[in-house]
């Protein structure tokens, strides 16, 4: 009998195979190229208007890209990622296959969850690497923007990636639960898009932070302010809200994965 870790390794490998060729996979590995291409063109043609004059351009450059990426692209990406990965099983009615293979139900749940977070992590890392690459390219093709005058701020890059990534954990767990429970992809995506729209409407409301899409959407924007004000990377309220959603919905989905009649 294989250990739980060996089972997890095999199930995770199977999840990797399943995810290949899905829209979630392409969005993760092609999406960042598309986003960065848009920004690269924007900074190439309008860089002097977009960047503050006579200042190290790296941090404003990175913060501007991630502000827009977190506000617009990230919510849509997370909705599509969760709905694609879970709908793969609903659409093909392959839960029945998954539940008749010799894996524990916990392994079935956690391997899929791990795949979801791995793709999310990959998208974040790739976006940051491409952001840096775009800055380096601008240094070469548009030297007057000043990218050659200072070093790449690796620490800020790592911190900003970590902030946006961690802020996405709560909503990703919510989407996982929703897409796990709802077979209809249109319905599950509808719920995700509604949460996204609600935040854009009530962003100024004092309790808007309780909406699970709030923190991931403002995470890119808030980083620049945090650096300017010398505040810690994560506020307590932010960690409690994001962590609360993450724990609550992960546990709920885990419980349902072990008890729901998935394969009937």
């Amino acid at each position: 009998m294989r250990t739980a870790l060996q089972q997890f390794g095999a199930a995770f490998k199977a999840e990797t195979i399943k995810s290949k060729g899905t829209a979630a996979y392409w969005l993760t590995y092609i999406g960042p190229f598309f986003i960065l291409l848009i920004f690269l063109l924007g900074f190439y043609f309008k860089g002097h208007h977009l960047l503050p004059p006579k200042v190290d351009p790296w941090l404003p450059f990175i913060a501007k890209i991630w502000d827009a990426a977190a506000m617009v692209f990230l919510p849509m990406y997370l909705i599509l990622l969760a709905s694609q990965l879970l709908n793969l099983e609903h659409k093909n009615a392959t839960w029945r296959l998954a539940y008749t293979l010799p894996y524990s139900k916990h392994i079935i749940f956690w391997s899929k969850m791990a795949m979801l977070f791995t793709l999310n992590l990959s998208a974040h890392l790739l976006t940051m690497l491409l952001t840096i690459a775009a800055g380096m390219l601008l240094a070469f093709i548009k030297p007057d923007l000043g990218f050659t005058l200072s070093a790449i701020p690796w620490q800020h890059c790592a911190a900003l990636t970590a902030k946006v990534l961690v802020c996405s954990f709560g909503i990703l767990s919510v989407y996982y639960f929703v897409c796990f429970e709802i077979k209809n992809q249109v319905k599950s995506m509808g719920i995700g898009i509604s949460l996204f729209i609600v935040v854009t409407i009530v962003a100024g409301w004092k309790y808007a932070f309780l909406i699970p899409t709030y923190y991931p959407m403002v995470s890119g924007m808030s980083y620049y302010k945090i650096v300017a004000a010398h505040e810690p990377l994560f506020a307590a309220k932010e960690l409690i809200t994001v962590g609360g959603y993450f724990v609550l919905f992960s546990l709920a989905a885990w419980y349902r994965a072990c008890t729901k009649r998935m394969a009937v």
Partner: protein
């Protein structure tokens, strides 16, 4: 010998209250090809799901390889290959990749995939996406996925669905071969009575969640052999019951037909002689043998 699968007085009802299995019992002997027959909605698929641990029986005992799913789920599933209901695949992947997913779960060597594909005649299409497969090819692939771990128990729900007559014969021969060569126990549900008759060593017939028949297939064929019927076309029914001292069935549809069960041809000759001697005109004699299909229908009717 302990049966591979044993269901003892199992009951199951869905949340809407519909009771699908009602104190249903079944024993699948090791090494058998066990056919499972029943009309639509009789509880066949539910029984298969209970055996596979996808559904939990509310009453009764379910053991597979002598263990229960609640205590030995992974150990049980690692010894079973299954094809439940319609075959389910990751359609965006190739046949090879679908088999790879099963291979990883069972921790098997890589070459088992090529062997399984060859076994079902899909080697040439291994790199094709499943979405491009015909129904028959999908059925073969599903069978390859079930056979991949060389299981001790093969659970197949309608494996001949979507196959042409040649395909049906090939699959039948394949199942018989793996049963004889590898000793694999096969639990197969089917609507094709003739297939069941040719393939299976044992049979269970289920109707409205209850067992109607269970046993070696010879037991049923013996019953068929003993329940033979003969029809006499006669001129009138007058005095028939005094001449033929046995339960009679009379049909008057243009001509008058008198039917009764018999065991030997000599018995028919004797009855004919008695009728003619007593002045009853006999216009014709017709022997009727019950087929498996008729026996199946009769068993279901008796159970209503």
């Amino acid at each position: 010998m302990q049966p591979i699968v044993e269901l003892n007085n199992v009951s199951f009802a869905y949340p809407n209250g519909v009771k699908v299995l009602n104190r249903f019992s079944l024993r699948i002997p090791q090494g058998s090809i066990y056919g499972f027959l029943g009309p639509n909605g009789s509880g066949k698929s539910t029984t298969i799901r209970v055996v596979m641990g996808l559904l939990k029986a509310q009453e009764g005992i379910v053991t597979v390889f002598g263990d229960s799913h609640s205590t030995s789920r992974i150990a049980i599933l690692s010894r079973i290959g299954s094809l439940i209901d319609t075959p389910n695949f990751y359609e965006h992947l190739t046949a090879y990749r679908n088999l790879e997913i099963v291979r990883l779960a069972h921790d098997l060597p890589q070459q088992t995939i090529a062997e399984a594909l060859q076994l079902v005649g899909l080697s040439a299409t291994a790199k094709l996406k499943v979405s491009e497969f015909s129904l028959g090819m999908k059925q073969r692939l599903a069978l390859a996925m079930a056979l991949l771990p060389k299981p001790e128990l093969l659970v197949l729900d309608e494996p001949s669905n979507g196959l042409d007559p040649n395909g049906i014969i090939e699959i039948r021969e394949l199942l018989i071969r793996i049963n004889q060569q590898l000793g694999t126990t096969i639990f197969v549900s089917s609507h094709l009575l003739s297939e069941v008759e040719k393939l299976c060593t044992h049979l269970s017939i289920i109707n409205q969640g209850q067992a109607v028949f269970e046993g070696p297939i010879e037991q049923l064929t013996e019953r068929i052999a003993t329940q033979k019927r003969v029809w006499f076309t006669v001129g009138s029914t007058e005095g028939l019951s005094s001449v033929l001292d046995r339960p009679l069935e009379i049909r008057q549809n243009g001509s008058i037909k008198v039917g009764f069960e018999y065991t030997t041809d000599r018995e028919i000759a004797r009855c004919n002689h008695q009728l003619v001697t007593q002045g009853v005109e006999v216009f014709g004699i017709h022997k009727e043998h019950q087929t498996l299909e008729e026996m199946y229908v009769k068993l279901l009717e008796d159970n209503k």
